[in-house]
């Protein structure tokens, strides 16, 4: 009897996870959800700090391939891609929208993404960066491990600020180019910056977009104040301000939690540019809502353990990066092999729950 109850409990948990994933897409809570939603921690009094970075998007000619790759890795991406048809006109295809609509999630199966460094990087710094990337593994089935070879995630520390390609797009990037940039990070960089920046960029690698571009937050900004503020502080023209802070993501973002100004994926914006005079506080670390949402999208295995990431032997790499020519595009077979290689030998939920065969979770790569 106990065995049957355990089985039912486990099955219910699996269904809750499916429902959670789907609700992230549709914005609707399913009937199984019994517990209240995690509250966004916008008012938890965190210090008003945030970062700026850029999500790199794949070239337009690879957009369709990127979407197909994302859908193959995780069928969750399929319905989101399907909603492209709902967009009204070609002018809606702003790169920022496209990056969100064609989401790049890795899927619910446990994965270990290998990490390498473009420049010669001390072992202690490599380990420190990877450990902060693995902060996300607290609630998710995706972990990061340093490799002596060329990683799926390739980190540079040169000029250009902070950025990362989004989710499964990283498998489309030529292997002699970085997928993430952490300008100027050294062992002297404060721990708070590792939390704020490395964890944010890793969020992009997991497929999470910028939270401050949610329309609920963008609507709080007074455009005229923003234009003046950024002209004065950065010398930015109107078009730059539009692109940076005034263009909201649409509702097709897979980031399904309520807009959360203390998310690690949210910038800080000052009260002097908001309509109500209150700042958009921004996040400095992965918050409770981030962890909960990431855990829904990338559920930890219900049974068994996701192996802890172990650091491999270190190899210092010095890779010359050249312009990305079309001839450098990652071949299909190589990309598939890269994605396949991230899967852990541990099994997905449906290996343990044959009843789920044919469901969204059963269709993962």
């Amino acid at each position: 009897m106990k065995e049957k109850n355990d089985h039912e409990r486990q099955l219910r948990e699996a269904l809750l996870k499916i429902e959670g994933v789907l609700s992230c897409i549709t914005g609707k809570e399913g009937p199984l959800a019994a517990s209240p939603k995690e509250e966004p921690s916008a008012d938890e009094g965190l210090p008003p700090e945030q970062l700026g970075c850029s999500i790199k998007s794949v070239p337009p000619r690879l957009a369709k391939l990127a979407a197909e790759t994302a859908r193959r890795v995780n069928p969750v991406n399929g319905p989101v891609l399907g909603r492209l048809a709902e967009l009204k006109a070609p002018t809606d295809f702003h790169p920022q929208f496209l990056t969100i609509v064609v989401s790049k999630y890795w899927g619910p199966s446990p994965r270990r993404l290998t990490v390498s460094f473009m420049e010669a990087t001390p072992a202690d710094l490599r380990a420190r960066i990877v450990s902060h990337m693995n902060a996300w593994a607290k609630t998710t089935c995706i972990s990061f491990v340093e490799t002596t070879g060329v990683g799926t995630v390739r980190i540079a520390r040169g000029a250009g600020g902070y950025w990362s390609y989004l989710g499964t797009d990283i498998t489309l990037i030529p292997k002699n180019r970085p997928t993430m940039n952490l300008q100027g990070f050294t062992m002297n960089t404060p721990e708070s910056e590792f939390r704020r920046v490395v964890r944010h960029e890793t969020g992009h690698t997991l497929g999470f977009p910028h939270e401050h571009m949610r329309k609920e937050l963008v609507s709080r900004i007074d455009p005229q104040k923003a234009y003046l503020y950024f002209l004065k502080t950065q010398g930015w023209d109107k078009a730059t301000v539009d692109a940076q802070v005034l263009t909201p993501l649409n509702d097709q973002s897979i980031m399904g939690t309520p807009a959360d100004q203390t998310s690690i994926m949210c910038y800080q914006l000052p009260g002097s540019i908001t309509k109500d005079g209150k700042p958009i506080t921004g996040g400095v670390d992965i918050n409770t809502t981030d962890y909960a949402f990431a855990g829904k999208i990338y559920p930890k295995p219900l049974l068994g353990l996701t192996p802890e990431p172990a650091l491999a032997d270190h190899l210092e790499l010095a890779v010359d990066t050249t312009d990305w020519d079309e001839a450098e595009d990652v071949p299909d077979a190589e990309r598939d092999a890269t994605i396949e290689a991230t899967l852990l030998p541990s099994h997905g939920p449906t290996d343990r729950y044959p009843e789920l065969a044919g469901t969204a979770l059963a269709n993962h790569a």
Binding site: E49, Q50, L51, G52, C53, S54, I55, K56, S57, V58, P59, P60, R61, P95, Q96, T99, A159, G160, G161, Y162, W163, R196, F230, L231, T233, Q234, G235, W236, D237, T240, A243, Q244, Y267, Q268, L269, G282, D323, W324, D325, E326, A327
Partner: protein, 102 residues
Amino acid sequence: MARLIDTQSLPELPSQITLSPGDVLVLQASGGYVQTGDDVLEMLGAYQPGLLQAAGTVLSPMGAPGTVLLRALQPGQATVNVVMGDPWFSPETHTLGVIVEV
């Protein structure tokens, strides 16, 4: 002959720079503006990275600009504020004196 002047090799910018008319200064910065002497020095703009593809299209990421271009116009003096670091988190403004001479 005008020069395209790379500043990446310096850990810090000097407080004063001497240019010739036509020179273009490339700074790793998120923004900037000419404070005085806009007839001597022109801010061409703040730019996001872009990558030319073989097909002729340009790949450009979303995010903050990372490069600022300034062009020397004619002999004289100018001051420019260069904004460096993370534009959303404690950006740093450096004032640069620029002498343009033939």
